[in-house]
Symmetry: none
Subunit: 299 residues, 2 copies
């Protein structure tokens, strides 16, 4: 097992030795493609996520230059369309390699049917919570970040307070160059807050601290003011340790994002707002939670 992990960690130079098995998911809107395959000499599966990257304004002159070859595809009056072959170093694709990939990764990145779930407080208690408790999803990688065992060089800001503190670092989806796609996550130091559902009046100092000092840090480091940021919490989250997303408004938020300022105001109104509130979100066919809601007759 140790060997395998080690080889997984050695940086790849190319996809030499990768054998393509199938496309898991194709998204024309986000211009992404998720692929499953194997690396030579291993029985483990690998998942490769390819995603076209946004252009960078600062590099515009490198796109419209004499090294960009054009192949006309259509012309009509003043309009001409071309396939443009811009210099390869200016046109990187973002590749994420997950290796070895588990069944869960494969399911996660496979395209599937989606359903709206209307999770009342009762349904949370009878279906969602037991599911989370039973599965005990590991957040060890989050603890590695919080304990500076991983990614410590990426930390943009830290408030070390164990109750109200957090670490702010770039989201994996951000290239850390293009300000318009700025995307960071604040991960709270406090353990045990699984999601929005767990938040109550005792967490107000934590939430207010993230909203205020996360914004201040982003203004200082990246010169992006709060009026250019969407600051939100996802429900369901992608991992069960409280984290807040800071995203430039030029990025689009997903549906079912809960603005942090709304979360704070709602808890100010009613301390147990998120224990009481019906929460609506989309789940996919292959999510275990879909099966649970369906089996209980709620889908």
């Amino acid at each position: 097992e140790g060997d395998k992990i080690d080889s997984a960690l050695s940086p790849l130079k190319s996809f030499k030795g990768f054998s393509f098995e199938k496309v898991l998911c194709e998204n024309a809107k986000s211009k992404s493609l998720f692929i499953m395959g194997q690396f030579e000499g291993s029985d483990d599966k690998a998942v490769v996520l390819l995603e076209k990257m946004p252009f960078s304004s600062e590099r515009a002159t490198n796109y419209v230059c004499q090294d960009t070859n054009l192949k006309e595809t259509l012309k009509n009056d003043i309009y001409g369309t071309y396939d443009a072959y811009i210099p390869v170093q200016e046109n990187a694709v973002k590749a994420t390699v997950i290796y070895p990939a588990t069944e869960k990764h494969i399911t996660k990145y496979t395209d599937q049917e989606r359903f709206v779930v209307t999770e009342t407080a009762d349904l949370y208690k009878s279906i969602t919570l037991p599911y989370l408790e039973e599965k005990e999803f590991s957040v060890q990688w989050v603890y590695n970040i919080l304990d500076k065992k991983q990614e410590s060089e990426r930390i943009v800001f830290e408030d070390p307070d164990p109750e109200t503190g957090f670490i702010l670092l770039p989201d994996m989806k951000w290239d850390r160059k293009n300000i318009n796609t700025l995307y960071l996550q604040a991960i709270v130091h406090k353990h045990g807050i699984k999601s929005l559902r767990d938040l109550n009046g005792t967490h107000l100092p934590l939430l207010r601290n993230i909203l205020k000092n996360g914004s201040v840090a982003i203004k200082e480091k990246f010169d992006v003011p709060r009026s250019k940021l969407n600051i939100f919490i996802h429900y369901q989250p992608s991992y069960n340790h409280l984290h807040v997303h800071f995203m430039h408004i030029k990025n689009e938020t997903y549906g079912f994002a809960h603005l942090l300022s709304d979360v704070i105001e709602n808890i100010e109104l009613k301390e147990d707002y998120y224990q009481w509130k019906t929460l609506t979100y989309v789940i996919r066919e292959m999510d275990e939670l879909y099966k649970r809601f369906k089996d209980a007759g709620h889908l």
Copy 2:
């Protein structure tokens, strides 16, 4: 002039001779970049629209091959991210050249800055409401629909009750063929509800009726169940007469949509929730409301 047009039409082989002037617009989500400049020997402006293209499933093996060079950007446990330089012929960018481009083209492709507005109850009363009252935006075209003077043949469902009734009809953006892009609007018969801000306890029967019977009508007419629908209200709305959006979940909702079921539950909790709540939304630089918030020192 004829010469110039002719030369504009001759297919370009590269951007040789193009001098970059400025970026008009940059969109990280659609991964596009709009550029203005000039071609050598001409005073006319040219607009170049660059857009990354989606991957093609059929060509997947050409992306994850030994000719794709990888440069590691991050690794953590089983996850590695890379800049992938896939073969240039597999990574064309779509370029549209408009030449000569008029002022109108340039305005059309120029980005407007956007700002997040945090509209407290007080700011609504002191800025937004006076603005709406002063402008008296006409909703005569909505009354024409409600009175069957317009678009009556498009009505999918009607409940004629003057207090709790509504008309359900396809949104103009829906082609009425593709079920995955299904998009309808419920427009209330009752006049004078300008937006979410005006909703209170007296409107609960109206809102519950729309949620229930709008969904039933869509299930009956289009066989799309409620678990496949996002049902929401925009704030700010695009016109100031209460309407509810019914959209297939395969469509993407904009940010700042308020789910109708959340609106109902919040008013059940606190009758004047939407008169009390701070509402957050994005406005554009050229919006009159932007000017008002800015002049009042809130942006």
